[in-house]
């Protein structure tokens, strides 16, 4: 049942259509505002059809007509819309019940197309037909089913085109001028002032404002243009501005929604200032009128409330002012320092890590963990490259402890975190760590690198050891060595794999480190290189075996007694002595029975005697006694020394330093 008068229904419908048309032109496809406008239009059409929207509207000069009525297009925006329909050669227009939002959207899309695009598509009705729009009817003199006699129609089209072109060119040039004005405060201000000449003609300025608003409304940057115009209006000379607002703009609020739109775009301060100049009784009357406006409830309320404030003389005057901060205020200088410090990449990085952890715990979006891992990897890398290992450690500790995360998050994304560790353990990520050790001194770096590697685990340590064995400079190498030592047994697997390295220096270092770490599992790997070509390695093997293998080392150590290298033999004997195992007495006795030809032999025998003295078993003492009592010729100087050493060892447990020197 119709609840409103038909002209109002028609006008309301046309305004909704115009609003939706503007929205769909302004907002990109998919924008929720556009979709909202479309839904609103559809609801409005359905309501209008129920309220008696005529099935066919005719577009006539200055009005829309239908059978039995008409509505004049006094509203400039509506008139512009009517004119546009007319220039698109639409003479009749209707919407049938059952129209779908899709059809409305198609209609608006077509109305927003350029003329030539429409022509290229065969005209508006053809285009709507192609898009299967069945509930919207458009008629024009040049298209439709009654286009018999194409010849005259074509001629008419050509004439119309020519005229259209001319009118359009003039309107366009004029429009460009005005559009330019609404972007340029100085020119627009000057124009308003010029218009008001002579005698402060506020009415002329008002007419100019009324003319400009519809032009502004259709521009995508209308807020900026409104602002330009409002600034110009505020800047008008006081008398002119007072008249303009009190006699023209404010009263127009009752009848002109464009003016409502304009006024709501003034800031709170500006509006208070503007209404402050209007006499109280006028304000009272205005307020009553504004309250009676049938639409734009919230905008109307805003103006109405501001008027109330003005009447109550409150707002700005009630705010106490304080002295302004000086440009050389010490607080300002502190802020400057804080701002500069905070904007360094290091500071941003630190902050971002905190945010990251918050996001890990908070964000529920799918796929985020993947990106998060990327982000954290970047952050760790950047922290290391900026010598901020502490920060990188903070990230790793956070991940390792799982502190900031929900337990289920951690469980769910464990594989992802493993992948992060895997990435961070790669050569590209570990190399910068070694660079830190190359650059940095002090125990802090060593301790931080150690912790970093320990968190990342075997893969990272293996890479690090790889870098370490290639390091040439003694300083960094020493620090890397400290790191590996501090890593302890966790580094052992990486060291074991390099025991057989072709470079003797590397092999020796690995063996030495394994011994220092005390990894018994390394014994097997070390035993494989007991016959290494290089005596230094063999010596290191001997030491490592003695350290790690204990009694198991006796056999290889005893084998080393026959090593071609004296130093190796010497080392083996010392180690055997240190092991103090009685089973070594017999092999030692055999060796001691051999002739002492060289100084090297003498040195070895001295060590053997020391070893026997250390072992101290009856068998060992018997061997020593036998040597001490052995008959030697006076010219057998070396043998005599051996005999002396044995005797001395029997007395004191070890040979004296003098004897050692003599030897």
């Amino acid at each position: 049942m119709a609840t409103a008068q038909v002209p109002q229904v028609v006008e309301g419908f046309l305004k909704e259509l115009l609003g939706a048309k503007k929205a769909l032109k302004l907002y990109p496809a998919g924008n929720p505002l556009a979709a909202e406008w479309l839904q609103r239009l559809h609801r409005s059409v359905e309501a209008a059809l129920k309220d008696g929207l005529p099935p066919l509207l005719r577009i006539a000069p200055g009005r829309f007509e239908w059978d039995g009525g008409q509505v004049a297009t006094r509203d400039p925006a509506l008139e512009t819309f009517r004119f546009e329909l007319e220039t698109r050669r639409i003479t009749e227009f209707g919407i049938e019940p059952g129209v779908e939002p899709r059809e409305l959207r198609e209609l608006i899309d077509c109305l927003n197309l350029r003329y030539e695009e429409l022509d290229a598509a065969g005209g508006l009705p053809a285009l709507l037909d192609q898009r299967k729009v069945g509930h919207i009817l458009l008629r024009g003199p040049l298209w439709g089913g009654d286009t018999a006699g194409r010849g005259p129609a074509d001629m008419a089209t050509a004439r119309l085109d020519l005229l259209d072109g001319l009118v359009e060119a003039i309107l366009e040039a004029l429009g460009d001028q005005f559009r330019g004005l609404t972007y340029d405060r100085l020119r627009l201000s000057a124009w308003f002032l010029d218009l008001a000449q002579p005698d402060d003609r506020a009415d002329v300025v008002f007419a100019a404002v009324q003319m400009l608003i519809p032009m502004i409304e259709v521009e995508p940057d209308r807020e900026i243009r409104y602002r330009t115009m409002n600034e110009c209006l505020i800047a008008l000379p006081h008398a002119l501005r007072t008249t303009l607002f009190s006699a023209w703009l404010m009263p127009a609020v009752r009848t002109d929604l464009n003016i409502v739109n304009l006024l709501t775009r003034f800031s709170g301060d500006e509006f208070a200032e503007l209404v402050g100049v209007i006499p109280a009784d006028t304000l009272e009357a205005l307020k009553a009128d504004i309250d009676a406006i049938p639409s734009e409830e919230w905008k109307k309320s805003r103006i109405s409330e501001s008027l109330e404030d003005a009447l109550a003389e409150k707002e700005v005057a009630a705010v106490p002012l304080e002295p302004l901060i000086a440009e050389d205020d010490p607080e300002l200088l502190k802020l400057r320092a804080a701002g500069r410090a905070g904007s360094t990449p290091e500071s941003a990085l630190g902050h971002s890590v905190s945010v990251f952890f918050h996001l890990i715990a908070e964000t529920e979006s799918e796929g985020y963990p993947v990106l998060l891992v990327d982000g954290l990897e970047e952050a760790v890398t950047e922290a290391i490259s900026r010598d901020k290992l502490g920060l990188a450690l903070r990230i790793l500790r956070g991940l390792a402890q799982g502190d900031p995360f929900r337990p289920e998050w951690l469980t769910e994304h464990q594989p992802r975190l493993q992948l992060l560790y895997h990435r961070l353990a790669g050569r590209a990520q570990i190399s910068p760590l070694a660079d830190l050790l190359r650059r940095g001194q002090g125990p802090d770096v060593v301790a931080e690198v150690t912790e970093y590697l320990r968190i990342l685990g075997t893969e990272a340590i293996n890479e690090f050891v790889g870098i370490f064995v290639d390091e040439q400079d003694a300083g960094p190498r020493g620090r890397m060595l400290d790191v590996v030592t501090a890593l302890g047994p966790t580094a052992a697997p990486a060291l074991r794999t390099r025991v057989g390295d072709a470079r003797w220096g590397v092999a020796r270092t690995m063996i030495g480190l394994l011994a220092r770490i005390g990894d018994p599992a390394a014994l097997g790997d070390i035993e494989k290189v007991t016959r290494h070509d290089h005596p230094q390695v063999r010596r290191e093997v001997a030491r490592a075996l003695a350290t790690l293998g204990g009694k198991q080392a006796l056999k290889p150590l005893l084998d080393y007694l026959a090593d071609p290298d004296g130093e190796v033999r010497l080392t083996a004997i010392r180690l055997l002595g240190a092991l103090m195992d009685a089973s070594t007495v017999a092999p030692l006795r055999e060796f001691l029975a051999t002739p002492t030809k060289t100084a090297s032999d003498l040195l070895v025998k001295r060590e053997m005697i020391t070893a026997l003295a250390s072992i101290g078993s009856p068998e060992a003492r018997a061997v020593l006694a036998a040597i001490a009592q052995r008959r030697v010729w006076p010219w057998q100087r070396n043998e005599r020394t051996v005999r002396g050493l044995a005797g001395e060892a029997l007395k004191s447990g070890t040979p004296t330093a003098t004897a050692a020197r003599e030897a």
Binding site: Y27, P28, A29, G30, L33, E36, R114, E116, E172, G175, Q177, Y183, R185, L186, R187, A190, W191, L193, D194, R201, V204, A207, D221, E223, I224, R227, T228, S267, G268, D269, A272, W298, R302, S306, V319, P320, L321, E322, L324, I325, E327, E331, L332, L335, R336, G339, R340, A341, S343, S347, A348, L349, H351, V355, F356, L359, T363, Y368, L371, G375
Partner: protein, 399 residues
């Protein structure tokens, strides 16, 4: 139809063709078929544009390329060398094509762009009988900084943000190009503000009810730049601050419109959704290409407040980034002074009083005082001289 209504692609493509033509003139002799083909193609493109408008104008201002009222940030970036060459070596500040332009005129322009001329551009046009292409000399530095320019940059930033948000809503990733464009536009806004401080309030007073968040974001950018400048942040840091500020509310895109535009007080469940937006914004910003950390930090922290009682909830020991503090103050001020469906705008001084009262607990009071200095002591800016218009008025309305 004004140039601002021409499809953006068309305007951009014509300029790309002009740039291509210039490159070809450096490679081939004038009558080479390649050049001739490029000339014909470019002529057709210009003529096509001029069917809908009387003139097609490209203006160079510093690093920026402007077509009509629009800054073309992407092209400013892509054709930087060309823009620089025109201004510094060829003495050209604007190229304006008028309807009726001929291929021979375009050929003359290509020759000029390729080899230059000893004359000034006006004499060149006369000598070559070029009447449908107007070349203007480059604007002086002081002319490059203007309110009009600032408004262009402001609107460019709004448009770019709109594109970014629409893309996100369609499920598309933000592109490097979009971010670079945004950087160019925020830098342009900053340059204008630094040259004319009176622009701060002129720009920050631009509001929109329908697209509140977009305009609010640019306003917060404007105010943050101004606060940062008064603190004395160096130029590069200010540019970073501007970028972080303009993206601070990106997470609001995840708030349903019915909540965002609700005129009645929000329910607790709706507040819970609102309180999530900084996290969501930071989440989105952490995924951006060429990821810069500051926007993510600021998006996350700007609602936390000094007393840590804002949102998202963090430990009391959480250390706020200085940029987040600046943006937080600018954000609160702009929000309070903007008309929304559920609240009236506060006058500036009252908003500042609210911020002062909340200071120490909610905001860094020093920043509030800096903002107050900006608001209260910003110069009014230039006014039109005398009563007469600075230039010929566009038209006169007879009352």
């Amino acid at each position: 139809m004004s140039i601002s209504e021409l499809p953006r692609d068309q305007v951009e493509q014509v300029f790309a063709q002009l740039n291509g033509l210039l490159r070809l003139t450096g490679l081939y002799p004038p009558r080479h078929p390649q050049i001739q083909r490029a000339l014909q193609s470019f002529h057709q493109a210009v003529v096509a544009c001029l069917q809908y408008q009387s003139a097609l104008e490209y203006r160079f201002l510093g690093d920026l390329l402007i077509a009509g009222n629009r800054i073309l940030p992407r092209e400013s970036m892509m054709y930087r060398r060309f823009i620089e060459l025109c201004q510094t070596e060829r003495g050209i500040g604007a190229v304006i094509f008028h309807a009726g332009v001929t291929e021979s005129e375009i050929e003359a322009l290509a020759e000029l762009l390729g080899s230059g001329t000893r004359d000034d551009v006006a004499s060149w046009a006369e000598r070559k009988s070029v009447t449908h292409i107007v070349l203007e000399e480059p604007a002086r530095r002081e002319e490059q900084t203007s309110e009009v320019m600032a408004r262009r940059a402001y609107f460019g930033a709004v448009e770019m943000l709109r594109m970014v948000e629409a893309g996100i809503l369609r499920g598309e990733a933000v592109t490097v190009e979009q971010l670079s464009s945004l950087r160019i536009l925020t830098s342009a806004i900053m340059d204008q503000i630094m040259a004319d401080p009176s622009l701060v309030l002129r720009l920050a007073n631009i509001k929109s009810y329908d697209e509140y968040t977009l305009y609010h974001s640019v306003n917060v950018c404007v105010l943050s730049i101004s606060i940062g400048a008064l603190i004395g942040l160096p130029d590069p840091e200010l540019r970073e601050l501007a970028m972080a500020a303009i993206l601070h509310d990106l997470g609001k895109i995840t708030i349903p419109l019915e909540i965002l535009h609700k005129s009645r007080p929000l329910e607790e469940s709706e507040w819970a959704i609102i309180r999530r937006y900084p996290v969501r914004g930071a989440d989105m910003l952490s995924r951006l290409p060429g990821f810069n950390r500051l926007p993510m930090i600021v998006a996350f922290e700007h609602q936390i407040r000094e007393d840590r009682l804002g949102y998202p909830s963090v430990a009391p020991t959480w250390d706020l980034h200085p940029f987040s503090q600046i943006v937080g103050v600018a954000d609160a001020y702009d929000s309070m002074t903007t008309l929304r469906k559920h609240k009236r705008p506060l006058p500036a001084l009252r908003a500042l009083a609210v911020l002062r009262q909340a200071g120490h607990q909610a905001y860094d009071l020093r920043l509030v005082r800096i903002l107050e200095r900006i608001i209260r002591s910003t110069p009014p800016g230039p006014v039109p001289a005398g009563v007469g218009p600075a230039t010929e008025p566009a038209a006169r309305i007879v009352g």
